[in-house]
Amino acid sequence: MKPKSIAIVGAAETTRLGVIPDMSQIQLHADAALNAMADAGLQPADIDGIATAGETPVTVAHYLGLTPKWVDGTAVGGCSFMIHVRHAAAAIAAGLCETVLITHGESGRSGIGRTRNVVAPTSLSGQFEQPYGPLGPPSLFTIPVLRYMKTYGLSHEQLAMVSVVQREWAGKNPRATFRAPITVEDVLNSRMIAYPFRLLQCCLVTDGGGALILVAAERARNFPQKPVYLIGTGESVETPMVSQMEDFTSSRAFRVAGPEAFAEAGITHNDVDHLMIYDAFAHLPIYGLEDLGFVPRGEAGAFIAGRNTAPGGDLPLNTNGGGLSYMHSGMYGMYALQESVRQMRGTAPAQIAGARISVCHGVGGMFAASGTIIMSNEPP
């Protein structure tokens, strides 16, 4: 993709976020999609490409009344939507379609109409991880962290600061689920989930959705919203088993997706005004800052504790409050993308003044996959 050749012209979340017991998963997709189409001034007949995860593209296309000529059902966890953006950009650039809708909806809290992910007992995870008693991401995603802590001397207090700082950002966001300030002591006194992780170091579980609409940049000025241009993208996968990560202190998928996006964008870290790093758990921003090259190995904990990513810091990170405080339906990547778009449009509740470049980095599964999207609001 040539930088700034593709633009995001529609972006919206579901009208409500949080607890939505009166909507099923497919309707959360539709609510977000209808909002994004209204945002872009489009009708279903204008959409000729569809990408989604959670539901199949067939289900979403049929439910919305679309007749797509390009579909992508890449489903590799919460960063699927970053990867959809990358694939959609390539498809539009190749002339396969013109107007792509990407949808997400998930009834993570209420569990209405939810599609189920079941680990087959014949899969490698089913044979070599599930028998040892994990209960979803809080007891799997967290397993590498003690090795990181021993390798680099990250303290429990520094890890707790990730949650504290993100709550400060959430306090500026009226749509955030949790907004009341918290302290390191609050985090370290919260209920133990899977040592060393306590409740306030684990993401929320809420209901919601989001959708994006992408077109070629030369069409972008015909739409009502300020266009947000893609300048760099990356993706990768590593392993479906967290126990088989090559390096417990770093994600190989991050180290492929991030540099790929930076190289395509032709930018340096100093050019970045705003950063989103998918934070299902408190260690994710630490791994992300290092694997994307913002901070030397082993220094991200001190960097965050030193308030560099907090309100007023040089590198504003997870400005919506993140998965730890804003919302997390299960596949959070769409909400990170929405916040990057808001920051680039200049409409974020905690708007970074003068922000021109936003990096949005996602994870899928338990360090299984990754997608990185870099956006700019400066026209080509």
């Binding site: 089913g126 070599f128 007891s139 209920r191 989930i193």
Partner: protein, 136 residues
């Protein structure tokens, strides 16, 4: 202990030798005949060099505690708190397991401490490889 049984692995043609091994008290790993790479989980070719000529051998069952969490939520077949751990085997590969026969506390579960295998029979077909602090 929480009611119910822990998740039971179901062998496939590619992993049957592993579960046949644990049933008779052997931790069977695979080594590439071409490049000597020892690897896990099982597959009938070398993930390093793609050679199909590989050998199954009985590993030492010794290793070190590489990383873990101590889980505090109820799961069928487990009594919280319990460790969900990754051990690094003497032969190189890492595998998930539980560390048993010791306090389930950060003080007792010291990273890099030597561990040794304990075979835990689930039923006539499946025996799980668990680990405990090494007794020298």
């Amino acid at each position: 202990m929480s009611e119910g049984r822990r998740a039971r692995p179901q062998p496939t043609p590619e992993t049957q030798h592993f579960w046949d091994g644990t049933r008779v008290g052997e931790l069977r790993l695979q080594r590439c005949d071409a490049c000597s790479k020892v690897y896990f989980p099982p597959r009938p070719f070398c993930p390093a060099c793609t050679a199909r000529q590989i050998s199954v051998f009985a590993a030492s069952g010794k290793g070190r505690l590489y990383s873990y969490v101590i889980h505090h939520r109820p799961v069928p077949g487990f009594t919280p708190p319990y460790s969900i751990a990754v051990v690094e085997l003497e032969e190189g590969p890492r595998m998930m397991t539980n560390i048993i026969d010791c306090q389930q506390t950060p003080e007792a579960l010291e990273l890099d401490m030597p561990v040794e295998i304990v075979f835990e029979k689930l039923d006539d077909e499946i025996t799980l490889p668990l680990f405990r602090p090494a007794r020298r």
